[in-house]
Symmetry: C2
Amino acid sequence: MAEKNLDRRQRRSRRLLRDALFALILEKGYDAVTVEEITRRADLGRATFYLHYRDKEDLLLQCLEETADGLAEQIGLLQPARPQEEDGHLQADFSGKSPVLLVFQHAAQNASIYRVILRGEGAYKVSRRIREIASRYAAEFFSARLGYGDGEPRSTIPIEVVANYFAGSLLGMLTWWLESGMPYSPEQMSETFRQLLFQGLRQVIRPEGE
Amino acid sequence: MAEKNLDRRQRRSRRLLRDALFALILEKGYDAVTVEEITRRADLGRATFYLHYRDKEDLLLQCLEETADGLAEQIGLLQPARPQEEDGHLQADFSGKSPVLLVFQHAAQNASIYRVILRGEGAYKVSRRIREIASRYAAEFFSARLGYGDGEPRSTIPIEVVANYFAGSLLGMLTWWLESGMPYSPEQMSETFRQLLFQGLRQVIRPEGE
DNA sequence: ATAATAATAAACAGATTGTTTATTATTATA
DNA sequence: TATAATAATAAACAATCTGTTTATTATTAT
């Protein structure tokens, strides 16, 4: 947002800086990357960096926010393709795809930034922020769909707990998947995750037949 | 381990450095802490720090390893109180307590280091290491108890996926719990986590009666 | 008592940061 | 196309932090 109002030179500089940072983090790890290196790789003056970002962390955080917005848009939480709900609930447009599947697909499409962020190689503020984002979305989602919304709640488990359980398990599986070189398709990952989440370990591991 | 063989001066120095680091991280965040500050707070010469640790991260990583060993011992994975199994399985001694409960209790007892580590305020290597430790234990645990061990596996889901699902959700709930000021007892957290993990969201949120 | 060794202060070169200054190059727009 | 606005730039800077080394003092184990 407000990205388009920038001078062409500014857009160019930001893009170059972002690309340089990602490449360098994947090459040598977040901590080892210096501002000097970023600008050298981007072929920009070092002073230019400070015209746009406060520091390395600031740059990475802004990339994270953009990525999170992009994902939210995909899922339909921000700009639903169809007109909104009428029953007061947050009613996302899933176009037949499960939101979890969309997450894995988005991760596959943006694997490089997902790797950088989920690895935890970003600064600690980045890791913290991504957990915040994930559990906030989860809380919105569950509150609208799993009986937390209106009448008497159908569970005694606080929604925050459920949201953090969800966010942790999803991020855990995403991280493993990306670090292992994405050995399964997004569809497979999504289906497995949904089984574990909704049916629980007992049903999934030991089918009732046994 | 091998901690007792140290000169008394060395033990004292390490303890002071560790305490100073924790206090400073909780006060101003990992990144802002310098070696100079740590030694000033510990009332030691700066050179002494480098006699014991390579850098700030090294110190924190060693604390993490000690804490993880302590937890593993509690759970009985490392030094089971009772003689080992006879059926070939890794047979931990649970003394009637669920391992998950022991985790939450250990976290409550060592809240300060757990906060520092789980917050992700530690260096990225720390975050990564703790996920590795958690999923390795989970994999061992599940492989011995949930039908992954000997005969034909009872599930098509790879154990690595289950382990990372487990580690992510447990760390997610732990992190939230600590950051929220531990609003529930370890027993409550443990019970809730086990319900979500084994019975799944569907059973837990919508009891079959409805 | 004494030999071993841990802690120490001081000094060091090197890296990095974030800012400022004066100048050049590019852009948007009339 | 002319021009006013402004982005990019190189250079220099003080400040901070790092990791190492040196020679000396203090504490420990035995």
